[in-house]
Structures are given as C-alpha cells and as structure tokens.
Amino acid sequence: MTVNKTVNGSSAVLYIEGWLDIRSSSELASEIEGLDSSINELELDLSKLEYISSAGVRLVVTLHKKYPSFKITHASPSVMTVLKMTGLDKRLNIE
C-alpha cells in the first residue's frame, strides 16, 4: 500500500493505492495520526485501492467517527462489495 496526501488548510485528501489489509491498515492509521490536528475535513480517494479487509473497514469507521467531515471517493467495485457487506455504504458519505 502507498499513500499520497494533499493538505489544503483544514482539509486533506489521502490517495490510497494497493492493498489495505491488517498490516497496512496500521501503517495508514499512523499516517493519519501524523496529520495536523487542525484538519477536520478528510477525504479518502480509493480509486487505486484494489483490496480492503475488515481491518481496513475498522479504520474507515474510526476515521468516520473522528472527523466531522469525512468522505470516501472513487471506490472500485470490489472494495464497494466489502463496504456493502458491512452495511457501511448506507452510513458513510461515499461518492
């Protein structure tokens, strides 16, 4: 998994690429920990994410609770399938 980020004032976009499994989820978690505390608007661009496991889903729910404004964009069909199975598609802001 690789992460690219763009920060613009209080909003940030993370471009996540590759596999988000139990191991890379903790990497991503610490990456987000390192973001400036003033950021209250977070977007995860998943256009290049191929795979997500329950560990990744857990992180997404955590971020959803942490950031007042949180959204997921460009999720691929296979990632969407997992999100739907967990019922998150109805709860999260997914574009």
């Binding site: 499994d21 139990i22 191991r23 191929e50 795979y51 496991s53 329950s54 560990a55 889903v57 857990r58 729910v61 955590t62 609770k65 069909p77 296979s78 997992v82 199975m85 967990t86 019922g87 998150l88 109805k90 709860r91 999260l92």
Partner: protein, 644 residues
C-alpha cells in the same frame, strides 16, 4: 503438344544444301583456272607430246614412223584426245632451203578450222624460221602464245631430226575448250558420285521415315491421347506382326504398357467408388458417435474433478464414456468399447450407452446395470456384436469406488505411484445370455489418489513399426501430472505422438483426480499472509475471485494469529475450475468461528471489530469447524463462478 519439325525434312534439307555446296565448290575451282595455269598446262603438254613423238622416232619422210606401220597422224590424233587439246601439228623446217612443210595436223574432234589452221601455222612458222634454224638456243619451257584471230592458245617445241631438218611440234587449244575440258572433268567424275550418294541417302531417308519416324509418330500420338481414348478399344500399334527390330520392341512394350495402365485405371475406378461409399458410411457413423460421445468433458464432484476426452479414429472404433453426478456425493463414470467399426458399431454403441444410462438413473447398482443390459442386448443381437464396459460409482467424500466390469481393461489407480488396479475382468457384454459373469468389486481411493479409465485405443495404440504404446507407456506419460486435466491431456498427447499421423483405434480417457491441492505450513504471524496471497495468486491469477479468496483467508488467519496462541498452522487449498476449498488447521486454543454471531454488527460499532467472521460467512458457499486431535480445523468452500 509443341509443334515440331520432322526429322526427315531436316535431313533432306541438310543433304540439298551440302550437294549444292559441293557443286559450287567444284565448278568454281574448275571454271576459274587462271590464264597462267592454263598456259603452264599447255606448255608442259607440248614438251611431253614432242618427247613422245621423238621417242617414236618421227622422220621427215611423209610422216611415217620409222620401223613402225603406224601412221603419224593416228598417233597424233590419239595424243590429241589424251591431252585434251584441239590440234597437234607437226611442221618440218629445212634449215638450208628454208622450206616449211606442214607434215601433219591432227584433231580430236571435228574441228573444221583445220585448213585455216594449217595456213596460219605456215605463216607463223615463216615469221619464226630464223629461230628454228638454231634450236639448240631454244631452252626452258616453250612459250604459249595467243592467236587472237582464231581464239586459240598455241605452243610449239622444236626437235632436231638431222642436220638439215627441224621438226616443230605445236599444240593448239581453243580458249573455250580449255575451260570446257575442266567442267567436263568435273561433270564426268563428281556428278555421278554425288548422284549415287544423294540417291542412297534419299532411299535411306525414305526407309527411316517409314520404318522409324512413322511408327514413333503413331506411338507418340497414342500417348498424347491416351486419357481421351481411355475406355475405347485400343488397337495395337501394328495390326499384324510388328517389325523384327527395336521399333517392334517399342511398339509391343507400348501395347503392353497401355493395357496394363487400363487395367490399373479400371481397378482405381472401382476402388474410388467403393471408397466413396465407405466415406458416406463413416460420415454417418461419425455423426452418431460425436453426437453421443462429447470430445471433452470436465466436471467437479466433491473432492474430485473429472476430465474426460474421446478421440475417434478415422474408421470409428465405437468407444464411449459417460460421467455424471448421481447425487451430491456420488459420481458415476462409465467407459466402454464396442466391437466392430463404422455405422453398425456406432448404432450398437448408442444402444448400449442408452441402456446403461437408463438403468443407472433408475438407481441400479453397476453390477445390476451390466447384468440387465447384457440380457437386453443378447435378446436382439443377430450380428453377435459385443462390448467391454466398466462402470464406477465413486463416493466423492470418502473415495470409495464400487465398480462392475464387463471385460474391460483394468483401471489405473493414480497417485504418487500410479498402478494398475487388480479387478475381476468379467465377461464381455452381449455374448452370453445366461452364463454372464460380471466382474465386481470396490477400490478405496486414499487421500491424493485418483482413478484412470481408458479404452484399449491407449495401450494398444500402434506406431509406425506396429509396436504397442503399452501400459508402461501410459504410466510414463502421466508421471508427475497433478490435475485431472493435465493427466488426461498428457495421456492423449502421448498416444498421439506414438501413433504418428493417424490413430489406429478410438482413444478414450476418463480421469478422476483430487482437485488441485496446495498444502502450506504457516508460521502463525501476519507476514505469512504473503505466502497465502502468493499461492492464491498462482492458482487464480489477478482476479476479483483471488481478492475475495484473499479476504476470506486473511480474516480467518488473522483470527488464528491474534487470538488462538497457536504455534503451528496449516492451510490446504484445493481448487477446481469452479470452486476453491480452504482448510485451516491450528494447534491453538479451541475456537469455533462458526459459533460466532453470524450477523453483521451495527456499522457504528464496527470500529470495535467482529466483522471478520460475518464477512467470511457471506462470501463462502460452505463453512464448518471441527476440533480434532487438539487442533482447530476450519473448512470452507468458495464458489468461484459467483466471485468473478
């Protein structure tokens, strides 16, 4: 055929040209003798004639030869014709009196100028008389002069007869006569010779034409039109006796060859029509057979996958097979080979195959099926056809195989060391109504073992040297193959390689083999996920199915790593074209994931975890847990076709 000239014509042309050339050469050399040559000839002839006359002792008295009764003029006439001159004149000159007397003039032909000549000579001699008085001064070759008024070449030579008398001998030749004599020579000698040669050659050419060229033309025209004239009655080249020479040999050889060829062509015609009929029949047989026996079949049944292949030989041997699932855990496979070939074999095969299928579908055991089919076939089998049949019912969970055998080849038990099973062979189906002894028995396939059914088209496949492929060849061909498909393909390919361009008999192969399996010993740590993902990627490629399988594997394996405290873990993957089985084993604390709440929690609580098992359940076709030998065993199956 290309238009060619005649041999005869070219020879005639050649002959004409050479004859003309010869005539031209001869004539030219004759007619164009130079003046000097003419004069030299005349000059030397004059000396010769004079010498002859001297030797003959000419005297001055009346021209009589001394001691001879031959008249001088007779001698000179003969000399005239011998030396081809027109005149010879002998003139006696008296040195004392200066009297000139023409002794004699001889001529070879009727030259009327003889008297004119005499006077001319006399006059001429008178002019030269001073010279003749001193003949000793006369040396060298006599001069030739030309008398213009008579168109005459003239040469004289003096002979001293006695003190008083000089005899002057003169030779005279007309200019035209000199030329004519040469031409006459040519004509008289060359032309007859040439004519004889030309005549001989002409006769030879006619002979060549009639005896050689004509028969050859006839033979070549027969050859050209041979196919057009085929089936007409060929007359021999010679109606009666052929000439007793090489042409006769050729024409007889041609007659023999053409009758041989006609006989062959008739044979070929007959074979062609027979072959067309046979091809039509084979076409029907092929349609029946390929309609009933598919060339390829793949099937999953429990822990096994099945791969079957059938290839018909050109003349259709009557092989058949059948594979189907009787119920969830029973696989039925049938293989058979019908006696004979062509349409009758195909029809008989379809009858037997249908009869077997009906019985098995009705729940008959393999043995009862064969028994019933045998009786049914025997009732109406006027052609005494028969079949070998092997039926196997396989429990796809336990590997127990119940079989019945009607004279078929023993199957091969596949595994690490493939071997031929020892089975009762039983009697052939269709031959004995009452006394039929069906072979029966069971085989227990151990883990990793499979079953290979085949027809004798495999082991008895013949190569160019008529060597059998053999049972050893079969075992060698499948060595190291680990899937039903690979085993089936490798065996068929090897039989093909052995047979060369054309199969000697139908080849049918049915392989029952455990699905592709991978056994992985894993350390219970998260880095082992790379090993699992690598294996899945090799088996399924970079597909959605692979990512789904990876998700399921990650959830279960993460549970083992995180909660069980296991020291050893193992994953067995077995795949078939349509499904993937996973079996996780670990030696950790007893934990039954199947007892976990199958329902997904409220999304707001998902940050606390607990969604792994519900995800796994949703994605798998089956999911089970057991605790055995102090180990947790989780087994699940993914439906790959639903995950594409």
């Amino acid at each position: 055929m290309k238009k060619r000239g005649s041999l005869l014509k070219s020879l005639i042309a050649l002959l004409t040209v050479s004859a003309a050339l010869l005539i031209v050469i001869y004539t030219a050399t004759g007619i164009y003798l130079s003046d000097a040559e003419k004069k030299e000839a005349l000059s030397s002839n004059t000396i010769t004639v004079a010498s002859i006359l001297q030797i003959m002792n000419v005297n001055h008295q009346g021209g009589l030869l001394q001691g001879s009764n031959v008249k001088m003029d007779k001698v000179m006439t003969v000399l005239c014709s011998n030396f081809e001159v027109d005149y010879i004149t002998a003139i006696l000159i008296n040195r004392k009196t200066d009297e000139i007397n023409v002794l004699c003039t001889a001529t070879s032909t009727d030259n009327e100028d003889i008297f004119v000549l005499d006077s001319v000579i006399e006059k001429y001699m008178a002019e030269k008389s001073e010279i003749w008085k001193h003949p000793e001064e006369y040396q060298g070759m006599p001069a030739v002069e030309y008398l213009e008024d008579m168109d005459l070449y003239f040469c004289d030579f003096p002979l001293v007869i006695d003190d008083d008398s000089i005899l002057v001998v003169t030779l005279e030749v007309y200019d035209r006569e000199l030329a004519h004599s040469v031409v006459r020579n040519v004509m008289s000698f060359t032309l007859p010779t040439l004519s004889v040669v030309i005549l001989t050659v002409a006769v030879a050419l006619l002979l060549v034409n009639f005896k050689i060229a004509k028969p050859i033309r006839k033979i070549s025209s027969r050859m050209i039109n041979f196919v057009d004239d085929y089936k007409k009655n060929h007359r021999p080249i010679y109606e009666k006796d052929a000439p007793n020479n090489e042409i006769g040999d050729i024409s007889e050889a041609f007659n023999k060859m053409s009758s041989d060829i006609e006989a062959f062509m008739t044979d070929i015609d007959r074979m062609r029509s027979e072959r067309v009929a046979a091809e039509v029949e084979l076409g029907i047989a092929r349609k029946i057979q390929t309609g009933i026996v598919p060339e390829r079949l793949e099937l999953d049944a429990g822990i096994y996958s099945v791969c079957a292949a059938a290839e018909a030989a050109r003349n259709m041997g009557g092989d058949f097979y059948e594979c189907f699932r009787v119920d969830d855990r029973t696989l039925c496979t049938v293989i058979g080979d019908v006696s004979g070939k062509g349409v009758s074999a195909a029809v008989f095969m379809s009858m037997i195959k249908t009869a077997i299928q009906v019985r098995l579908a009705d729940g008959f055991s393999p043995e009862a099926t064969l028994d019933a089919v045998n009786r049914e076939v025997c009732r109406a089998n006027s052609e005494s056809m028969f079949a070998t049949v092997f039926i196997a019912l396989t429990d796809t969970v336990t590997g127990e195989v119940n079989f019945a055998n009607g004279g078929h080849n023993p199957p091969v038990i596949l595994g690490e060391s493939p071997r031929f099973a020892e089975v009762e062979s039983g009697t052939l189906i269709g031959l004995f109504d009452t006394d039929c002894d069906i072979g029966k028995g069971s085989i227990r396939l151990k883990e990793g073992e499979g079953l290979l059914l085949y027809t004798d088209g495999c082991n008895e496949a013949l190569d160019a040297e008529s060597e059998f492929f053999g049972t050893d060849g079969m075992l060698k061909a499948i060595d190291g193959k680990t899937t039903a498909k690979d085993i089936c393909g490798a065996l068929c390919d090897a039989v093909h390689r052995h047979s060369g361009s054309e199969l000697s008999d139908d080849v049918t192969v049915v392989v029952i083999y455990p699905r592709e399996q991978r056994v992985m010993k894993l350390k219970p740590e998260l880095s082992s996920l790379d090993i699992i993902n690598g294996a899945l990627s090799e088996m399924l490629g970079n597909t959605d199915a692979m990512r789904s399988a990876a998700l399921v594997a990650e959830e279960l394996f993460a549970n083992i790593v995180t909660y069980s405290g296991a020291e050893k873990a193992e994953l067995i993957l077995s795949s078939s074209p349509s499904s993937l089985k996973m079996r996780f084993t670990d030696d950790g604390e007893p934990f039954d994931p199947s007892s976990a709440d199958p329902e997904m929690k409220d999304p707001d609580l998902l940050d606390l975890g607990g969604m792994g098992i519900p995800l796994v359940r949703r994605m798998s076709k089956s999911f089970s847990y057991e605790r055995a030998d102090g180990k947790n065993i989780v087994t699940l199956e993914l439906d790959l076709s639903a995950l594409q």
